[in-house]
């Protein structure tokens, strides 16, 4: 049943296919021309996706906030003003923002904040704009365009000419997008003449005119009340070869809505349907909005009856409701609310709906009557039950005090209990009033509601906010009708919290009141420790004690007996919360005794047991007793270590055997193990030699197992004859229980097939008794290779026979991969009918869809709609509708059929699967498929649920590969048009490409990361009159290598030169061997609180270190904080400098001194100051210091810092000092959560030391490291093998690696290299290529931190 529905749905995408195919050739991309137009609807701008992936390199909290904004937008299409204000605050604190971050914030201030009034949003954006200007954030045309868009969305009536002249004064040239938006501005006023003027100007400049402009014109005419002209634009568009889109029609429909021409509206909607232009729900809501705001509300039900309520409808509805309430259209908003889809609870009842509605009513300052009316209505309609509660909550949240009291009254009338804490938000929101009158007013109001302010209210909310002397505070509170007792107790507590113990004592001794012991105790203890003022402590304690009898007044429980001695005991016991209480306790006890106060025995006993070994004679005299205890620390014992032989690798084991043989120890057992290892390595030569050798030894028996291994190795070396020979031997030896591993059988059968002996192979498969082993990845791929060899030769029958035999005899667990050859064999012969039939068989039989994409592409290419439909139906059975549709999208895109792809993506309710799109993008880029990538960009345009940044970035990479700067720049402009913020990554890539080509860059290239963290606040550059010019002179001189001029200029005008330019100067100075000058410039930057670009900073530090200038480095080091030091690996350089200067020993001693004097507080810093990378240099250059190093390392390790010993281990490991390395490992490192072995990888890579890296892989098998780390090691291993051109080892190692880690953990480039090898060998490579990001993550994974 469902499948009928489904297929009828697909028909829509595929039906027009045949006829479209002829006309819709794949669209050429051109960064500037018409087809790249984006659509913008003018009757009410829609929230576009922010579509950004802010790169993690900048100020993290700012980035985190922006990221969460972005997520909100994607989820709901809206964000809150508070979020934006937080971001603004963050920018202010950081005193900087990148160009793309600022672009993002600007763009947030439009309809993305539907619950705020447009005027407020405009104010907000202007505030942001000014802040950014003040901070000197570089702004380019994209920022101005974004500002324009926000103005339009907020219906802000700015003057286009002023806007243009402002841009001109800043020297920024408007572009196509700027003019388009200015046209819209004129159109808002219905000023067609103004719009036309700009249009003519654009024509003059030969700027392309696209659909946006026409939509604006339609809007303009309808604003002017000229619907005929508005409608006429459609035919103008047709003449220009542009088809009207859904947005075009919506704009027009809104125009008619304004005039209430419902019949025309209905006609137009019909026309859309005929033309296959699908109006989305939000388009209908736009029409409703136009009706409501133009006094045509009577038609709203007509339009609302047309909405389809697809996924996402509710979010759109919410946004429109909020906007309508802001516009004062409560009725229309309510009408939409009633159409919202309500989900059900697990018990079948409906989820409530409408909370946001009530919230917005309160927010938009509706009067009590309206709010109560809707609350009742929602309750009656069973939509939202506790409307009044919610409205009250919101009014408290927003500090709407008057409304809050009114609502509280309503609640009270309904019999709801009014509680203390309801008033806390009101007190809090009055806290800024320094006179305290606001707070007093709330306190008085509370009493009108019969709520007497409690201790808690006074202590936590009122008293901390009341300023002034204690006496003034007391009298203020008296005005609020608060009893003196309550006030005094609260006041004393608060004073104690502020550690003002003397003042507290004064109050306590002058105001008799019940000082609640439970409230006062802990603050009193803390205040005593903070001040050491025992006298005041005793005073307060005394008054607590004296006033205990007043408790009766506060307690309902009349027979409460008060035990003063017990209360005092509790206070004393509370003193033991601090470690060093013994001294103070002594003093307190002495004075208590003087005061004549006594404590209970229970309290004394409790104190005694707490004191433990801290008890002194004097104290025990005071308390009367003494106890003591002693502990003997048990020293840690060390355990011996060794690697068991079965965990050794070939090298280790060979060495061991050699070793033992020289001592005449029996080694047969170890050799047997060696044979297994040789088998794993596929090393026939060594194996044969060893077996030959073993045959002669007396106590060795050649078991069936060893023959089987030998057989397999022969088979792997394509020696069928010898393999079968061994097979017979095995058979004879194991008469009783003869069986062979599956993988060994497959290997021999495969060999037979390779030699054309299919029948023999099948017989072998059928008749050989076998042992089912673990069917790992390599087994499956082994089987696949056999099947594939037949498929590639187009041997249909043979393939079927083999496949059936394998299935019948249960050799395989069916997977998509294994079914692939069955389809492939037909495609090789170009027999699509048979291929599809086989595909259907796969689906029906196994619910698997092998070779689907290839099939789909073939069908699209030959335009076989019927078969494509069938394929998609089959796919839907297995993968579900959405996945199948996405697959279809990519297939269409790959074949250049953009129109079809887009149609699918426009499907209302098609859920977003961003990962699928990103994967596709990356695949296209890698495979150099630019056309499909462009196609995907066009197909996803304006679909705001899809994050398109990745598409743009991948396209940019492709264009750069093609060396086409115009297309690259065209992408940037187009992103403005589509209201997307380019990522820093995008801008850096584009900017540096343009620079390389000697072209001007129309935006500020984001600077590399280190600069984004200004350390002090003084690094902003004061705006010069013509900064651009000054800078460019400096740049020019720099370019001409006129370094002396630059240095001099820097001395005179230090603040005028940007960090980037300074950095360049530093670089040039170093290149000219003027290191001292370079250091000077660096120090100059550091003194200003910034530092050179990270890359150059590192370069400089390296140079300084290489010349052994320890003092210079120390001078620089003093000016850096820990974070920066880490970023530039400062301590490693320092270490290096010491080595060069011959001071390695001194340096080690300094490190030793550090750790000797480490405290808990500074341990982390000391740990970070240990040069994990540089220390290796010490070991390398000064082997004589190894012992010293180990001693120091152990000291570090005893404090939990294993890094130093890790370095030593690395050294031992590389030097093959296996025993020492293992000992260190077992004693200190094996449980460490983070092990560094980057140096080993480096060394292996550098020396192409296959053995070293192989040992490391073996070692890690027994270690506790992440899959990422293992992947990293294997990546290196593969690279070394590739470099040595050991192709077969590459294949083997790769497959081994996959047994241990998922392919995502292997370095992408390594995988790509492996893929090349496979291709060279003519082997099919069927593994997914890991995505870029993943492999980056993994590379960073175990780099030292």
């Amino acid at each position: 049943m469902a499948s009928i529905l489904r297929s009828s749905k697909f028909v829509r995408y595929i039906a027009g296919f045949a006829k479209n195919v002829v006309v819709s050739t794949p669209r050429e991309f051109d960064g500037n021309l018409l087809n790249a137009a984006t659509v913008q609807c003018y009757c009410g701008a829609l929230p576009r996706s922010l579509a950004t992936q802010t790169s993690a390199q900048h100020d993290q909290s700012l980035d985190r906030r922006l990221k969460s904004l972005d997520q909100d937008v994607r989820k709901s299409g809206r964000i809150s003003r508070r979020d934006i204000e937080d971001v603004l605050e963050e920018i202010r604190n950081a005193r900087s923002a990148t160009s793309s971050q600022s672009l993002l914030v600007i763009r947030c201030c439009g309809t993305l904040v539907p619950d705020e009034m447009p005027e407020i949003r405009t104010k907000l954006v202007q505030e942001i704009w000014n802040t950014l200007n003040k901070l000197n954030v570089p702004m380019d045309v994209s920022h101005y365009n974004a500002l324009l868009r926000v103005y339009l969305e907020n219906e802000h009536l700015f003057s286009p000419t002023e806007f243009l002249s402002e841009m001109e004064s800043k020297g920024i040239e408007p572009n196509r997008v700027t003019y388009q938006r200015l046209i819209s501005r004129y159109c808002y006023d219905g000023d067609i003449e103004g719009a036309t003027k700009i249009l003519e100007y654009m024509r003059e400049k030969q700027m392309p005119v696209n659909e946006n402009v026409f939509n604006a014109l339609i809007y303009g005419h309808s604003q002017a009340g000229d619907m005929d002209s508005a409608h006429g634009i459609l035919s103008v568009m047709a003449q220009a070869g542009l088809e009207p889109s859904a947005d075009t029609y919506t704009t027009l429909l809104c125009g008619y809505a304004k005039e209430g021409r419902i019949e025309t509206i209905n006609e137009l909607i019909n026309e859309c349907e005929q033309k296959e232009v699908y109006l989305l729900d939000k388009d209908y809501l736009d029409i409703v909005y136009a009706l409501a705001t133009n006094g045509q509300s009577q038609y709203i039900p007509d339009i609302l009856s047309k909405v389809k309520k697809t996924i996402g409808y509710n979010q759109d509805a919410v946004n429109f409701i909020l906007r309508l309430i802001n516009k004062g259209q409560d009725e229309a908003a309510y009408a939409i609310l009633e159409t919202m889809v309500r989900s059900t609870r697990p018990d079948g009842s409906l989820m409530p709906v409408g909370s946001f509605f009530i919230r917005q009513l309160v927010k938009a300052d509706k009067d009590l009557e309206t709010i109560v009316k809707y609350c009742k209505k929602l309750e009656e309609k069973n939509m939202y039950q506790k409307g009044l509660h919610l409205a009250t909550e919101v009014s408290l949240e927003l500090g709407k005090e008057v409304l809050a009291y009114e609502l509280l009254n309503q609640l009270k009338q309904q019999g709801v209990e009014i509680r203390q804490h309801f008033f806390w938000p009101l007190i809090a929101s009055n806290a800024t009033d320094s006179s305290g009158k606001g707070i007093i007013r709330v306190l008085q109001k509370m009493q009108e509601f019969d709520v007497i302010p409690s201790h808690e209210t006074l202590r936590d909310w009122v008293l901390p906010k009341l300023k002034g002397k204690s006496s003034e505070v007391l009298s203020l509170l008296r005005d609020a009708n608060i009893s003196v007792g309550s006030s005094a107790c609260g006041l004393v507590t608060n004073l104690l919290i502020k550690n003002e113990i003397a003042e507290a004592a004064t109050i306590a001794s002058s105001v008799p009141a019940y000082y609640v012991p439970e409230l006062i105790r802990r603050p009193l203890t803390n205040a005593l420790y903070a001040t050491g003022d025992v006298k005041s402590y005793i005073t307060i304690l005394r008054h607590v004690y004296e006033n205990l009898k007043r408790k009766i007044n506060y307690s309902d429980n009349q027979d409460t007996t008060i035990d003063g001695a017990a209360v005092i005991g509790l206070f004393l016991n509370d003193l033991t919360i601090k470690r060093n209480y013994a001294n103070i306790l002594t003093e307190v006890l002495e004075q208590l005794a003087e005061q004549g106060l006594s404590i209970t025995t229970t309290a004394a006993e409790s104190l005694e047991s707490k004191l433990g070994e801290k008890m002194t004679d004097h104290l025990s005299g005071l308390l009367g007793r003494l106890t003591s205890g002693e502990l003997t620390p048990v020293p840690l014992s060390k355990r011996p270590v060794y690697t068991p032989y079965y965990q050794m690798n070939v090298d280790q084991l060979e060495k061991l055997v050699q070793n033992l043989e020289s001592k005449n120890v029996d080694t047969v057992g170890y050799k047997r193990r060696l044979i297994t290892l040789y088998h794993r390595e596929n090393n026939l030569e060594k194996m044969e030699a060893l077996i030959e050798q073993l045959k002669n030894s007396t106590n060795f028996e050649l078991t069936a197992g060893i023959h089987a291994i030998l057989m397999d190795t022969y088979a792997a070396h394509d020696n069928l004859e010898k393999a079968l020979e061994q097979f017979e031997v095995v058979k004879q030896k194991e008469t009783e229980e003869f069986n062979i591993d599956e993988s060994k059988i497959i290997r021999i059968a495969g060999l037979m097939i390779k030699q054309g002996k299919l029948e023999e192979a099948i017989k072998f498969l059928e008749e050989t008794p076998r042992d089912k082993g673990n069917r790992g990845y390599s087994y499956t791929s082994q089987v696949w290779r056999v099947l594939n060899s037949l498929a590639e030769n187009g041997q249909v029958e043979e393939l079927e026979r083999l496949f059936n035999t394998l299935v019948k005899n249960e050799y395989i667990d069916i997977t998509t991969v294994l079914l692939g050859p069955l389809i492939k064999v037909y495609l090789v012969k170009n027999d699509l009918d048979a291929a599809l039939q086989k595909f259907q068989w796969c689906v029906e039989q196994y619910k698997l869809t092998p070779w689907k994409n290839e099939l789909a592409c073939k069908l699209i290419q030959i335009e076989d709609a019927e078969k494509l439909q069938k394929l998609t139906d089959l796919s839907t059975i297995v993968h579900g509708e959405i996945n199948s549709l996405y697959d279809l999208v990519f297939a269409f895109v790959e074949c250049g059929r953009i129109r079809q792809a887009r149609k699918i993506l426009e499907t209302p309710g098609l859920q977003n699967r961003p990962q699928r799109i990103n994967n596709a993008c990356e695949r296209f880029q890698q495979e150099g498929l630019v056309k499909p990538l462009e196609g995907l960009k066009d197909a996803t345009r304006d679909l705001n649920h899809i994050d398109r940044t990745d598409i743009y970035y991948q396209l940019l990479l492709s264009y750069i590969k093609q060396d086409d700067s115009e297309k690259c720049l065209g992408l940037w402009t187009q992103m403005q048009e589509e209201d997307m913020a380019p990522t820093d990554q995008f801008l850096i890539k584009l900017g540096s490409f343009l620079q390389e080509k000697g072209l001007s860059v129309p935006f500020a290239i984001p600077q590399p990361k280190i600069q984004q963290r200004p350390i002090t606040a003084t690094s902003t550059v004061p705006p010069a009159v013509k900064p651009a010019q000054v800078f460019s002179t400096f740049k020019q001189k720099l370019g001409n290598e006129d370094l002396d001029w630059c240095l001099q200029y820097l001395n005179n005008q230090q603040d005028r030169v940007s960090v980037a330019d300074c950095s360049q100067l530093i670089e040039k100075l170093i290149h000219n061997d003027r290191l001292n000058d370079a250091v000077k410039v660096t120090l100059h930057l550091l003194n200003k609180g910034s530092f050179p670009v990270q890359k150059i900073f590192r370069f400089l530090l390296n140079k300084v270190a290489a010349t052994g200038q320890v003092d210079t480095l120390n001078e620089i080091g003093h000016k850096l904080n820990t974070d920066v030091k880490r970023m530039v690996s400062f301590d490693n350089r320092l270490c290096h400098a010491n080595i060069v200067a011959g001071k390695a020993k001194d340096y080690l001693e300094k490190l030793e001194n550090n750790i000797d004097n480490a405290t808990d507080e500074n341990l982390e810093i000391i740990s970070s100051e240990f040069p994990r990378g540089g220390a290796y240099g010490i070991l390398e250059k000064h082997p004589e210091l190894t012992k010293k190093f180990e001693e120091i390392g152990i000291k570090y390790a005893q404090k939990g810092v294993v890094g130093p010993l890790n370095v030593l281990w690395t050294k031992y490991f590389i030097d093959r000092e296996t025993e020492k390395a293992n000992k260190l490992w077992q004693d200190y490192l094996k449980d460490s959560p983070r092990i560094m072995f980057q140096k080993i990888i480096h060394t292996a890579r550098e020396l192409q030391d296959e053995d070293l890296i192989q040992r490391l892989t073996e070692h890690l098998k027994i270690s506790n490291v992440t899959a990422g780390a293992v992947g990293n090691v294997y990546s290196c291993y593969l690279d070394v093998l590739v470099a040595k051109n050991k192709v077969e080892d590459v294949v083997e190692t790769f497959e081994n690696a996959l047994k241990q880690v998922p392919i995502e953990n292997i370095n992408r480039t390594a995988v790509l290299r492996v893929k090349e090898i496979y291709e060279k060998l003519g082997k099919p490579f069927t593994y997914p290529i890991p995505s870029k990001n993943r492999s980056n993550v993994q590379e960073n994974d175990d780099v030292e931190s």
């Binding site: 509660h389 949240e397 009101l426 707490k610």
Partner: protein, 89 residues
């Protein structure tokens, strides 16, 4: 720190309606056993409820009883109840 009295029977309660404060929370949970302390967390700056809090039971029985009930409902809202992860102090 000074003396560990062993486990604390501490519950983490969230999704508390804004109308509920300490005493209401204590009253509700008292039916499962003696409650030493019940507290709702309020935002220091705004005075608004953060809609979560903690209940300290005096004995294990109450602590466990309270977790047995699948759905706790207080003033029309379903509470989320879980043992607090910091059970030792």
């Amino acid at each position: 720190m000074a003396s560990s009295t062993g486990r604390l029977y501490k519950l983490y309660v969230s999704n508390i309606p804004w109308t509920v404060s300490h005493s209401e929370l204590r009253q509700y949970f008292s039916k499962y056993g003696p409650v030493n302390l019940a507290t709702v967390i309020f935002d220091k700056n705004t005075g608004l409820s953060r809609n979560f809090g903690f209940v300290f039971f005096g004995n294990r029985q109450g602590f466990e009883e309270a977790q047995k009930l699948i759905e706790h409902k207080l003033e029309g809202q379903v509470l989320k109840v879980a043992p607090s992860t910091q059970d030792q102090e």
